[in-house]
Symmetry: D2
């Protein structure tokens, strides 16, 4: 019996080159890639194709780009001029049990997968992916901090807001560079962990007592926390980097008025380390599919 | 209106000396201590008394020793020869709203507090306390590792099982000392965090592939994980330290047969750093009571 | 008696703004700055002047730009259109005992100071300055590494050549970011220190056994060490950053032929952190002059 | 031609068991061990013998115990009841070119080797050995600190005096455990390195301004630096650990009067990690002899 999985990758950016490379190494996977016609060299072990060429009913897994689809089913194709649209019909024609992977999910995708009773895996929702991705995110933040200040990270006063998956990595890496790191959180257990890490904890309510002395403020909390009151008290040369997903947690308008540089910084992993970011996805997709195969074969 | 809280500390060990010192610093607390008659010098700000002297109905909080009570209500009194018994009646006579603190809870204590409708706070169940306590726990583990091996922690292969509150602290501190640290966990998100920390992750199922090369194995998982199979493969000079609460997660008997030193290590914080351990409790009790006062006064 | 020192700063770049700010804070220093006419706002506590306005015979110290002078005595003036030339005569007219500070020294400067019997302090030759400067140097290197690769520093294989003042800082900071760091040196004691730091040591003779696996190679040795043989074996996606002073220690030409990106990276502190770089100079100049004053007043 | 080296190990403690194990692994070495008759099991690859049995004129290297000899040539024999004396005559009868290894040297040994024109290698004088040995030294210090205080190293104020080979390791490891580390040194370059490490630097002259706040003071400077004035100001619960070689750098008598615990701590590597300490010696002896062979065969 054939246990090979038929997988189609439809669209994607630089990260997906590494994802493809990763999956082609797995002998159990039969890979077709769509939306890569502009690449000059192919991938050993992956067939290039057009959407029309493949039979949805034979696919075990479909991997669509990180941002999912737009509201009409179009997917991002960085390496092709052709537009690719995945209609609801198409999802319906997929084999039952076919898994659909994306980075984040969108209303259209939720509906399409829901109606077709397919398992949708928005990879970025997974804790492990979020933690692995925190690494390139933090390196991107470090790069921005070095580029946008005239002082060193070392010896500077850095405030990090939130000790979640990204916040934890930020805290340890900025401390590793010699910054004086304070971390604000609403959780008592976070304050304990921050203390154990040798950093300075504070509750978010006390942010205004810490912000006046801060050189670099990095926010990871997806809620309005870097308010007018907080910014008002900051030094004019201080830098704010807001990592939280749109619209961020900073009153950007007020920061501009006050003359304080405040930068949103979306999508850092894909920008600073597409290869690593793709490898992360490759590893996790590979692991999920392998578990799937081993369960199926029981 | 008097907002001072009447607090009784009944029994306790060296940790409670620091706890007492901590609470006496808080002007909002009126402290009576019972079971400390053998101390040569008193505490400024705390009254020594006998159990009979105090009026339970006037108490806002009662702090009993870390281990709670035994099945008849007796509490540990390291600094007194007198036996102190807290009967269920006594709990009933406490003021409604009185908070009862202990380290861990016991069946008797659960019943007594439950029947009297009192709030029982087993401090060690709190995430923040567990994280703060992980610090002296880990220092105790380091001490044991140095004492019980003829090699350095630096450059040795250390396996840590579990990346919970203690496991995380173990991992960072043993890595800080220069050990080659591998951490086993069943959670994918733990494996990601371990990777981010620069350490070697493995799933618990693979423990037997890592144990043969291990010099020091430290367990924090309260389940039988260091089994006969795992021990069988270990080097005879390796050391096992089991931190998990009784009965631990190690087949101690088999380790002995195999000639491998395996040590349970209960209660390290109270042993290696009673002052710090007491300060941790003092800080948290103080914070809980302060919140209580501020809520009461609303 | 007046113990105030007359100090002239003649030319300089962004770093010197911070140097000036630093020295103006010292009430014992009377500061004249030359070559800053294009700045819109002045410095409280420093007088702007032209070279002709000052009396060399009254100066206790002269601070010229980091690169010293060119072979005819011209100094760099980033904040002025006017050209400033310090002739040998001018040095002769300085007070005996006047100290001349620069970053590095040049043949002209050596001669001029030598003939006039003046103490010349090339600040970058000092061990303490080199170590402080290693911090912005390393942050600049980190920025370049993030910008010029598509993978993360974390988990990548980084080779550092030399464990001198810059090499030590590189090693600890790249390790702090989670790289697998190997350091090559010819000194046995360096290999021991690298081991103690938890990193992988190797003797320079073994560089070719480590280079094939390397993702990022950073050189600090001012001698031809990254030779054709070393580069030949490297991965084509690897990056070489050469920090050693001109001409560096890399066969750049061969790297280009091989299609491996190899970048010289001069003057990083002034580029990525002029404020910190200036503060370093300010602190050290301040300390040297203060010692001078206290000795003079004995 | 036979390139095998004849090596005799004469006397020694637990460290030498590992040294022997190390050298027997080298096929180029022919090993005779003297003073190990009480060991129940032998070493594959090493011959046990009495001093009388061996021919000094055939030896290429002689390894005597770490403390060298006493003033009459007696060496320490932990694993034998027999006394072993190495007379000056005996040294004279050694082959010209024979290398004599010990840990430290003694007047007798200097004379004996000098008169016989032999190369004496006191291993502990080597920078690399001192740095490797600093690792078990620091672990021993950590153990003592945990055992002799009732607070955690984490969060405590630790002063380290001297940033030499031991001081550097102390600083990084105590910082790794979460202590607030300050380091005192007389060298400006040390103060810069301490700053780079993220620790607090101070010049030794300022020790009295730092000692009042200190919980743990560790000295590595072999000169009287922890004076009456310094101790006078310390907290009574503070602990002093003096690592400097006899007589140390602490006014122990005054510390006792003041009721402050002050502990000399000689020979930590041999106590806490004899196996590692022996491996360090084995590695270095092996390397020196291998270089010797390769030079001889040129
Ligand atoms: N810019 C980029 O390239 C990039 C990359 C990765 C992630 N991100 C974004 O960064 C943000 C953080 O990601 P993450 O993975 O670290 O998320 P996370 O693990 O959920 O961490 C967020 C932290 O913020 C806390 N928080 C949420 N709402 C709060 C509120 N109203 N007040 C106080 N604390 C609050 C959370 O605590 P509780 O959950 O317990 O409330 C949590 O500790 C997200 O918005 C994510 O999309 C951006
Ligand atoms: N010896 C001492 O002095 C000392 C001091 C402090 C704590 N302790 C003891 O040390 C242990 C760990 O404490 P902690 O605060 O770190 O607890 P914790 O945060 O709950 O960590 C325990 C870890 O083990 C995992 N785990 C539990 N059961 C498992 C199983 N059957 N298989 C695989 N993983 C399992 C948990 O994962 P999930 O919860 O997600 O399953 C968790 O990650 C406890 O027993 C505690 O009482 C001893
Ligand atoms: N790009 C920038 O922005 C920047 C910033 C700062 C410094 N730098 C440059 O970076 C380089 C390193 O600076 P540093 O302060 O770290 O100098 P350093 O402390 O002297 O370190 C250089 C190291 O290289 C070793 N070395 C020198 N020649 C060698 C050879 N032929 N073979 C093997 N090893 C050799 C030295 O050992 P021995 O001395 O014992 O031989 C020393 O350990 C210098 O060229 C400096 O000008 C550049
Ligand atoms: N207890 C143990 O188990 C153990 C183990 C290893 C070493 N030790 C001992 O620990 C001590 C330190 O060893 P080490 O290898 O770190 O030596 P080291 O590298 O020479 O360090 C000693 C430091 O002290 C400085 N120093 C010396 N005399 C001074 C003075 N009068 N004033 C100010 N600073 C002074 C030295 O600076 P300068 O040299 O530049 O003056 C150097 O930085 C030695 O006595 C050694 O024997 C003990």
């Amino acid at each position: 019996m054939d246990t090979k999985m038929n997988i189609a990758i439809i669209g994607g950016d630089a990260r997906y080159l590494e994802l493809i490379r990763h999956l082609t190494k797995n002998p159990q996977m039969d890979l077709t890639i769509i939306g890569y016609d502009q690449l000059d060299k192919g991938f050993t072990g992956a067939k290039q194709a057009e959407l029309e060429d493949i039979e949805p009913s034979k696919l075990d897994a479909v991997i669509i780009p990180v941002p999912g689809t737009d509201h009409r089913g179009y997917v991002e194709t960085v390496f092709s001029d052709k537009q690719i649209q995945l209609k609801k019909d198409w999802f319906h024609s997929l084999k039952s049990g076919c898994i659909v992977f994306s980075g984040i999910t969108t209303p259209f995708l939720n509906e399409a997968a829901g109606e077709a009773a397919l398992q949708l895996v928005p990879l970025f929702d997974r804790d492990d992916v979020a933690i692995y991705n925190s690494i390139p995110t933090v390196e991107g933040t470090i790069m921005m901090a070095i580029q946008n200040t005239d002082f060193t990270i070392h010896s500077s006063n850095v405030i990090i807001l939130g000790l979640g998956r990204v916040g934890m990595t930020l805290a340890s890496k900025f401390a590793g560079l010699g910054a004086h790191v304070s971390v604000g959180s609403k959780h008592q257990s976070d304050l304990a962990r921050i203390t154990e890490m040798g950093l300075t904890p504070f509750t978010l309510d006390d942010l205004t007592t810490h912000s006046p002395n801060c050189d670099l403020l990095i926010n990871t909390i997806p809620a309005m926390v870097v308010t007018r009151e907080v910014i008002q008290l900051m030094k004019s040369q201080a830098l704010i980097i807001d990592l939280a997903s749109k619209p961020g947690g900073t009153d950007f308008k007020f920061a501009e008025q006050r003359g304080i540089k405040a930068m949103p910084a979306p999508g850092l992993p894909g920008i600073v380390a597409p290869k690593t970011a793709g490898a992360i996805l490759g590893r996790v997709v590979s692991q999920i599919l392998t578990e799937h195969i081993s369960e199926r074969s029981k």
